[in-house]
Structures are given as C-alpha cells and as structure tokens.
Amino acid sequence: MAYSDSVQQTPGPSGAEYGFAARLGRWLTPTNVILIVCALIAAWLVLVPLAALFYTAFAEDTPYGPGAFTLQNFVDVLTDRYLGDLFMKSLIFAGGTAIVTFALGTAVAWVVERTDAPGRGWFHGFALLSFAVPGLLTTMAWILIFSPNIGWLNGELKNWFGLEKAPFNIYSMGGMIWALSSHYFPLAYLLMGPAFRVLDTRMEEAAVMSGANNYQVATRVTMPLLRPAILSTLLLLFIRGMESFEVPRLLGLPARIFVFTTQIQSATSNAPPQFGLAGAHGIILLLICVIGVYLYRRSTRNAEAFATITGKGYQPTTVRLGVWRWPVFIGIAVMFFAALGLPLFTLVWQSFFRNVTLPSFDAFSTMSWENYNIILHYPIFLNAVKNSVMLGAMAATIVVLFTMVMAWIAHRAAKQYGWILDVLTFVPIAIPSIIIGASILFAYLVIPIHVYNTIWILLIAYVTMNLPYGMRFTSSGIMQIHKELEEVAQMSGANLLQIFQRVLLPLLAPVLIAAWLYIFVLAVRELSASIFLSGPGTHVLGTISLTMWEEGGSFGAVCALGVIQILPLILIVMAMRWVEMRVGKRH
C-alpha cells in the first residue's frame, strides 16, 4: 500500500462529496494505523509512570497504597529545614561536576580534534572505553583509593610524606565531584569533539587575514562559534549530575551529603515506605531537569545557524604544537590515567585479594583467584548475570525495532503527525532514571497488571528509559537515507514489507547494530531505576554489586564481580566502535 497516501490531504473541489466515514476510511491507511498504535504504546510507557508519580505525590501514604488527596507531602518537603541545604548541595554537586567534566573533556577534545599531538587515536579509544565501566564500580574503586581509612593511595601518600592524616577524603563534596567527573568527562569529550571537528578553520583563517591576533581569533571567532556547543554540553552535564545516583549513594550518604536522588531512594526504602514524600521530591527534581532540558533544547535549536561544515572544500587543519607536542601528550595521558587507569587498576588489583591490600611487589605472593571462584559459584550472582544480559538484549531489541518503525513513520510516512512520536519518545530524556524507577514502581503497585517483582517491570523501565536514544539513532539513520531510494523500490513494484526487508533494513543495519549495542551497555550498567524494581530473584548486576558492597562481605569479591562485568562490556564497546567506523566509511 502506498504510504505516500498520508501526505497532507486537502479536500479538492470534489472533496465535499465524501462523507465523514468515507474520509475516515481514507485516512486510516496502514501507515496511519501504525502511527496510532505506536503513539499509544509510547504514551503508555511514558505517561503512565508520570501520572503515577503525580498521583502518588498528591496522595496520602496508607499501608494499602495511595490514599486520599493531600498536599501534605509537598508541605513536608517545602517546610523541611534541610530543604535549602538539599538544594544547595544538589546544585553544587551537579554544577561542580559539569564544570570539572567540561574542562577535562574540552581539553581532550581540543587535543584530539585540533592538534597534531601524538596518541590522539588512543585517547579517543580510551574515552569510549570508559563508557563501558559502570559508574557504580568507578565509585567503589575511588573509595578503595581515597577512603581515609582503607584508601591505598592515601596510605601510600601517608607513608611517603610521613603524614599523620590521610591527605584526601573521598567522602566529601570534592570527592563526589571528582568521582563523578572522572566517570563523565569522556561524555564531555564526545559532545565537544564534533563541535571542534565541524568548526571550519577557514573562518579562523579569515579572521587572521583580517589582521586579528591569536587571542582575538579565539575570543571573537572561535568561542562565539562554539558557544551553542559549550552551552548545551554544560547543561547536559548539569542534568546528568542532578540525575546521578551511584556517587551520592556511596559517597554522599556516609558523609551526610544528601541530594535529591538519594533523598528519593531513602524515602521509599524507609519502613514504612514514604512513597508520597519520594514522589514530592521526585517532582521537584523532575522540574529542575525539565527546565534544564528545555534550556538545552533551546541552546541546540539554533545550532544549525552555526553549522559551519561547508561541503567539499572543507579541510580540517590542525594546530602545530611544535615543542609542546609531547608535554601535551603527557598531560592528557596523565589525565586519562588518573581518571580511568587508577580506578580500573584498583578494581583489577583488589579482585585478587580477599582483604584490602596495598599494591606492592610483596603482595604478588598472596594473590589468588579465590574471589573469582566465590563469585562464579554464587547462584544469586549467576542469576543476576542472566537477568542483566537477558534484560539488556530484550530491551535493546524492542527499543531498536520499535523506534525504527516510529522514526520511519515520523520522518517519512506521516510527517504531519510525526512530531507526536518525536515528543513522546523524547520526554524520558528529562526524567532522571531514578524517577522512572520510582514512578514505574508506583504505577504497577496500583495498576492491576502483575509485573511487580518480575523481570518484566525492569524490562518496561529499561525500554522507557532508552526510547530517546533509540529514536535518535534510528531517526538520524533514516534521515540519511534518501527518500527516493524507497520511492524507486515502490515504483519497482515492492510493497511496504518488501521495502523494509530489502531496502530499509540493509541500509539501516549498521545504525541499528550500533543502537542495539549502545542500549545493551546502558541496560547492563543500569542501577538507579533497577534499585526500585528488582527484588528477590530479579536482581541485576547493578543491584547485586551494590548489595554485596553495602553488606560489606568482601571488597575483593565485589571487585572480582566488577572485573567480570567490565571485560565483556569493553568488548562490546570495541564492537560498537568498529560498527561506527564502518558506517563512517560508507557515508
């Protein structure tokens, strides 16, 4: 059936002859039916949890679930004398992380994209690699490095300099910002890198030819051109900081530094659980994030006006560093070592020892595989691996296929209604995963669909959270495919199914694989939503790691568990990079 049917129809001179039913019949083309079905599913996934969040926040908590309407939850939150403190701490934490992350990431981006420093390819690889390391594990590693009591580097520093007290305390605002920044700075690099890459150096050259010196070029041309990218990167990092849960949970709680995410989670794990209070906190956090995302969209909306790629003649030129090549290389290498190497090394080292052990040559004799042995014979762990892998694979498959259909409908078949799908699938970007977890919990405690305490509730959460990423990948993929490639297939006699099978799927395959791997990694790493939704028998890697850590059995065993998680994820990220490079070559 022709999907071009659904191009905007306007009744022609004879249009009046058609009755309402006839017109409805004509409007109900297969593509419009698919559109409606997709919109309904997406709306269910996205809007139901949000409705549950609001319902819970405005209802009394009773032992039987949400009760009568009340504003008490908000009164409790807003009159809490620690509210100001909570706000300040959250803002400092998120803002600080954004700035530190941005500085580190931009430095790497500039070096990789615009200089002739050695090792640029490696830095790009390392940046992607750190995406494979779950934030929970990085945070644990930082505790093992900089905890005042057990941190090995603190211990070494005390020995070397003969200090009485540990020089660093990871259980502090500074420690939290550092721990999260070390995890997020590759994200800043990945966001700023393209901005540097597309910056047409001829614009800078034109400024030089007009008589500007280096400083004037930087402040009057380069920075203004990069401004949209800088703004949007900072905003996104800030939102990510507001949403982050692992660091505040592991480092903030012991230091009594509370932020919104930890506040929400602790309210639901109180006995009896204060769902209403958690909901009210959730709505405040949601508002902050929505404002952030709104500003982010605004800052990127006009980005096209700044798009400075100018087609064929474009030749990126690099800054010649001269004698600074190696110092710059060493600087960036040290940064990567400090942010990525140190925690990874610590995890690997500690995984061979039962107790906290300082790295030393003497210790080699006491290394053992004992921790791995314990982990691999621990049924709960094996079950969690199975759950995580299954959930990751299912969520990735569902999201990729679902968003592919939606992207096609939105950008090809039913353009005039497509924005509905775009908006629906974009909404979860603004919802911190902790709120998605909590709201889905609230929703399915009330809705009589029995998914609570099964892995299906986790699947719903993972699918919902990853809709925006799936949509981004598939939309850009579809928009890269010239519409005439589909039309000519249609003219050649192919029906809708054949067009999908023989033209769209093969052309989209690299994008779909990249999207699948990306979502799979995100789902396997997931903790903040899972913590609300997993129960006995439905533990996933994130929740089991946290439980093992907090129950304080053995640091060594948790590290072994971490290493077992990270290795396959690294392989997947490498596969993703490979697919990406193939896509890059083809276009």
Binding site: E484, L485, V503
Partner: protein
C-alpha cells in the same frame, strides 16, 4: 498511452493552501515522449509524482494504456507498486547496498504474481544493461559507478520490466554539461529504439527541445502552452513562454489597425512601429507585446537597412563568442539583446539600425502576459 484529465493537487504550506497542480489535462500517445517543462514550483514534478502514485491527487483521472490508475469519481487509487511504471529519479536512487545486477533485478524479484526464474532474471538484467551500454558491469558494486553510469543503471532498472510508461524526473540535472549532452542523445536513441511512452520532467528548455515529440510548458500549476518544440519556440502564446523558452526581447505597445486573416499586424511601440505576427485574435488598439529573439534581429549600419521594421539603436556592449557576437544595444529607452554573425562587427558606441522581420516577431496579448507574471 497516458491520459491525464483535470488533475488537481494542493498542499498545506505555511502560507496557506497551495494549488500545486491546478486542473492539468493532457495525453501522451503510445511511443511518444512528452516533456513537462517549467520553472521550479510550477507543478511539473507534482504532476509526475501523481502519475507515479507517489502522491495522491485531490481529483481528476489518470489512465495508462486504457486502465484507470486514479479516478477520484470512482474513488480509485492504484498504489504505485501496482502501476507497473518505470521511473528514473533525479538522484538516480541507486541502492548502495546492492550490486549493479541486484539493482536491476530488484523489480523482477519483487514482481507480484509472476515469479521469474533465476535464468530469466539473469537474461532480462543482461538485456537491460546492454541496452544502456552497461553490459559486463553486473558484478560491480553500484557505488563504484560514475555519475553517468549510475544514471544508465537507474534507466536499466526502470526499463527491465518493459513498462508501458517511463517517467523521468530531471534525470540529467546531476550530470556535468558534457555528459548531459551525451546522455540527451542516448536517451533519445533508447526511447526511439524501445518505443516506450515517456513522460519527461525538466526545467532545462534545451533538454526539452532536444528530446521531446511534444512539450507542455507549465506555470503555477497550469498548462501554459502545448506543442512540438518548434511551435513552442517559434510561436509562444504568452510572455511567460516566450521568456522561459530561450531568451527574448519584449517590446510593449498598442495594436495599430486591424490584424489580417494571416495574423499579420502592426504594433506601435515607443521605439517605432513593428510588424509582427499574431497567433491569437486581438482587437485594434489593444495593448500588446512584441517578442523577438536575439538571433532574429538583424543588425546593420544605419543607412544600410532595407527591409522589415527598422529601429535605430546604439551599441552599448558586445561580447565576442567565436561563432557569434552578442550585442546589447540601446533602442530608445530599452536595452535589447542581439545575436549577430561575426561579419556584423560594430564597435561599442556605434550607431546601428535593427531590422525586424514580420515572420520572426510574435505579437502577444498584454493582459495574458501580465496574468502569467503574477502566477509565476
């Protein structure tokens, strides 16, 4: 044979409803090539896409070889994949993930009803590729082909099913000038050889004149003029057509005296009286325009002019192009373009006389042309 009757299609645009195709009717006889010619936005591509089935018209009737594929009165709309039309797109739309062979074989592989055997497909693909002189390229990756080869490949794919109708949407516009000229002959040869009814869409008048049996000039969603290339060029019926096809000089004035049965008449312009030929009836004293092409003006020394309407002028500028000299001459208050033989060599600033011949000057109704201007 293709029949299009009273085709209408409008779109919602930002500034309201746009009648992209506004009551277009025409037929293309079997085996003929008709070109839809017009500037961008004139509705030619929309018309083509309606015939293809890629757009659904608001009303009208489209029939191919006696079978309706669209008929708004009967509520009939045959989807494009069931119309059996061959089509070549502007971008060629060569599938990059398929080999040359697979690209051409595709229409046979997805054919509804009739399953083609492997050998049959191989044979048909081979024949189609040989027709477009791409024999032996079967195993190549489609992306390795040059622009001109991709164009031929797209054509082979469109022809492999031996369609009753071939649609060509600006197929030469992505080629460089030399290749375009070459492909023009190639297309003409193929079309004659295969005798396939062809509808060709272009904004390039040279292409249209070179290829077509008939040309349909469109503007503002309407058909402005229809005729064979010579008629369209020699006897434009409006300022729009005269100006769009080739280049022309337009002299406004008023009809002086009655127009004869042979269409011969006189228009009094600011520059002087011009004898011209009208192809539409026009009243004495009506506002009119005279259209005369640069190559139809004879430029000569002031006292040497002998025949036709003679207008005095002065050379403003000249460009020597080898086989011709292009002049801009000032005639009264107006600049006219003149294309002359190299022998007619005058310096800038020289006083000259222009001879205009009654057969080569086309008289147009002024009101028609004003309306056209508003539409375009």
């Amino acid at each position: 044979m293709l029949v299009v009757e009273n085709l209408r299609k409008s779109f919602m645009a930002q500034n309201g409803l746009v009648h992209a195709v506004d009551g277009v009717s025409f037929t293309v006889e079997s085996g003929k090539l008709l070109t839809l010619l017009g500037p961008s936005g004139c509705g030619k591509t929309t018309t083509l896409r309606c015939i293809a089935g890629l757009e659904r018209p608001d009303s009208g009737r489209i029939s191919i070889d006696g079978h309706d594929v669209f008929n708004s009165e009967r509520g009939l709309f045959v989807p494009p994949n069931e119309r059996g039309i061959g089509m070549v797109f502007q971008s060629y739309a060569i599938w990059p993930h398929m080999s040359v062979f697979e690209n051409v074989a595709f229409p046979l592989r997805v054919a509804k009803g009739r399953k083609h055997s492997r050998a049959e497909i191989a044979e048909k693909v081979k024949v189609a590729l040989e027709k477009v002189r791409l024999g032996g390229y079967e195993g190549r990756s489609a992306t390795q082909l040059s622009g001109g080869q991709q164009q031929r490949l797209a054509l082979a794919r469109g022809l492999v099913r031996e369609p009753g109708l071939l649609l060509l949407d600006e197929p030469l516009s992505n080629l460089d000038a030399k290749l375009r000229e070459q492909m023009r002959f190639e297309l003409k040869r193929l079309q004659l050889e295969l005798g396939v009814t062809t509808l060709y869409v272009t904004h390039d008048q040279a292409e249209a004149l070179a290829l077509s049996d008939e040309v349909l000039v469109m503007s503002g969603g309407k058909v402005m003029q229809r005729g064979n290339p010579t008629d369209i060029y020699r006897r434009p019926n409006s300022e729009f057509v005269a100006d769009f096809i080739g280049s022309t000089n337009l002299l406004p004035g008023r009809v002086e005296g009655a127009v004869g049965a042979d269409g011969k008449g006189v228009v009094r312009t600011e520059e002087g009286a011009v004898h011209c030929t009208f192809f539409q009836p026009i009243a004495n004293g009506a506002e009119a325009l005279v259209s005369v092409r640069p190559e139809d003006i004879f430029i000569t020394a002031p006292n040497a002019a002998r025949s036709g309407s003679v207008l005095p002028a002065k050379v403003e500028n000249r460009v020597f192009l080898g086989e011709v000299i292009d002049y801009i001459v000032r005639c009264g208050t107006r600049d006219l373009r003149v294309r002359a033989k190299p022998e007619q060599d005058f310096a800038i600033g020289a006083d000259v006389a222009l001879e205009l011949y009654v057969d080569r000057c086309v008289g147009l109704r002024a009101d028609d042309s004003r309306k056209t201007q508003i539409q375009t």
